[in-house]
């Protein structure tokens, strides 16, 4: 069969396939104007026709038909391929399923990385915390004088709005909510992304944050700050610290896949493990949104410390039970 006979025989099929593609490629908004029947018919007819076009494209190439014809068929195959193999998601249900099952389940499946991240964070935090508790001056080897002063004034009993520097005094809880979102989730994302430098970035940020948080906690565990500091931080700590460690665990997964790829290529292992790590980061980001909410609207409120501690205990219990138990049933994943 020569090229012109080939074209004559099959051009109607190509045109029909082009029409089907045009129907299927319309975004859902525009598609509503068409009768819905059109779309279903197109979807039913599509796969068989797509296979025919693939066949024609293969023939045109092996028979060395003219480049323009081959290109034209290639374009049709590419568009068809994109339609047939595109990944679909149905927004809200995916999100609910993610929070209720996938995130906690994925975390439990990668618990070794979680414990490692926790150790990298808590080890320095506890060590420096104890050290600065016994020698409050040690804080000055971690941060500058200005930072220490700002920290002290935030948790000073004279500060009417605990947890905020004097310049931020007048700002409302809402503003702080936005600030915590921007600041904390960015830190979480960076801890994760740093994992792709063979884990170095993640380890650095986990240890660094551990040192800072431990140092501040140890330093502020003395009068007069103590009465303000712990009631303020305990409420959101459950979400915030856990989420930061989970972001670290996600980064360590990236690092591990590059450091110990086993018998595969590093890039292949990275690609296979990265979606798992992403699940952890996204879950942690949602936890950080919760943390920001609690920190902005609850931690800064004027309830007595007993109430604050009780709620904090509830928060910790909630987080631990959620991460341990949610999604344990073997239902739909």
């Amino acid at each position: 069969m020569n090229q012109s006979q080939f074209e004559q025989a099959y051009r109607p099929e190509w045109q029909r396939f082009g029409q089907l593609l045009a129907i299927l490629e319309k975004k859902s908004g525009a598609a509503r104007k068409d009768p819905p029947r059109d779309n279903t018919v197109a979807a039913a007819e599509f796969p068989a026709r797509y296979r025919r076009i693939c066949n024609h494209y293969g023939l045109a190439r092996t028979r060395h038909y003219s480049p323009a014809l081959v290109d034209q068929l290639h374009a049709l195959v590419l568009r068809g391929h994109r339609q047939l193999y595109k990944k679909k998601s149905n927004g809200l249900w995916t999100l609910i399923n993610f929070v209720a099952r996938i995130f906690p389940r994925t975390l439990r499946q990668n618990s070794r990385m979680f414990w490692l991240a926790l150790a990298l964070f808590c080890g320095p935090a506890v060590a420096v915390g104890i050290a600065t508790y016994h020698d409050p001056l040690l804080i000055y080897s971690l941060m500058g004088e200005g930072q220490v002063l700002a920290m002290e004034s935030m948790y000073s009993p004279e500060n009417p709005k605990t947890g905020r520097t004097r310049e931020r005094d007048a700002e409302s809880d809402f503003t702080m909510f936005g600030f915590y979102i921007l600041n904390n989730i960015s830190i979480g994302f960076r801890s994760f992304a740093g994992g792709i430098i063979f884990g170095i970035g993640t380890v650095f940020l986990l240890v660094f944050n551990g040192l800072m948080i431990g140092g501040v906690a140890g330093h502020l565990s003395h009068a007069p700050y103590m009465v303000k500091f712990w009631p303020f931080v305990c409420g959101h700590g459950a979400f915030e610290l856990t989420a930061l460690v989970i972001c670290g665990a996600a980064g360590l997964i990236l690092g591990q896949s590059l450091i110990r790829p086993g018998r595969y290529r590093r890039v292949a292992v990275l690609r296979r493990r990265a979606p798992t790590a992403l699940v952890l980061v996204m879950g942690a980001a949602l936890m950080l949104v919760a943390a920001a909410f609690v920190e902005a609207f609850w931690s800064s409120s004027a309830f007595p410390p007993q109430v604050k501690f009780a709620v904090a205990a509830g928060n910790w219990l909630l987080v631990i039970l959620y991460l341990l138990l949610a999604g344990r049933n073997t239902g739909e994943s």
Partner: protein
Amino acid sequence: MQSPPVTSPPLDTIAHYETPEGVELSFAVAGPVVRAAAWGIDLAVRLVGYFLLALLTALLGGVGTSLMLIGIFLLEWFYPVFFEVHNGMTPGKKALGLQVVHDDGTPLAWSSALLRNLLRSVDFLPFLNMAGLVTMLLNPQFKRLGDLAAGTLVVYVNDEVKEFKIPDHPPLPPPEPIRISEQRIILNFCERADRLSRERCHELAALLASLTGTDVPVRRLMAFGNWFLKGKGGS
């Protein structure tokens, strides 16, 4: 997009993917320069976004500041994610005819878009996307770290369907047997002839003097092209 190679893989920036149906798709991968330009455009768009955000939220007091901070967060991390999930093109990429796709050519899913853009923060290190640039130059498909982890490619979009018509001409068999790959070159010439100037056509056709003679080389090639296309009958 150039047609795929006939024999050995050429030294170029075409990425290939074999579909489950057993045919090969090819993508023209975008290089660092055009991608840097797209990034620059996106940066400008984002700066305008920050500016408008600041302007709008300044009217709202404390809640406004909060919205501004959240807006900065979203623009910084999710601006490319939003566009790339929508159609694979941020405004910068769209302006330059680029598109992000999976390695197999399918449209980007949420997870891939999120991965490649969260890792952007490392690609940016230590300044101005240096890590990303070095990674791109170290692999044949110009992938930065985010692309490697997410399994994505940045390719040129090729929407226009070229409708080349080979001019009708009484077919004529070539004086000597011509290999099928060479026939293809002659067909390609015939298809592109009306885009070239007459002088250039003549110049190109005259290169094959042994085949076409020197008096009317272009018409001879057209005749051969029609012969390959339609055979003796000219139907």
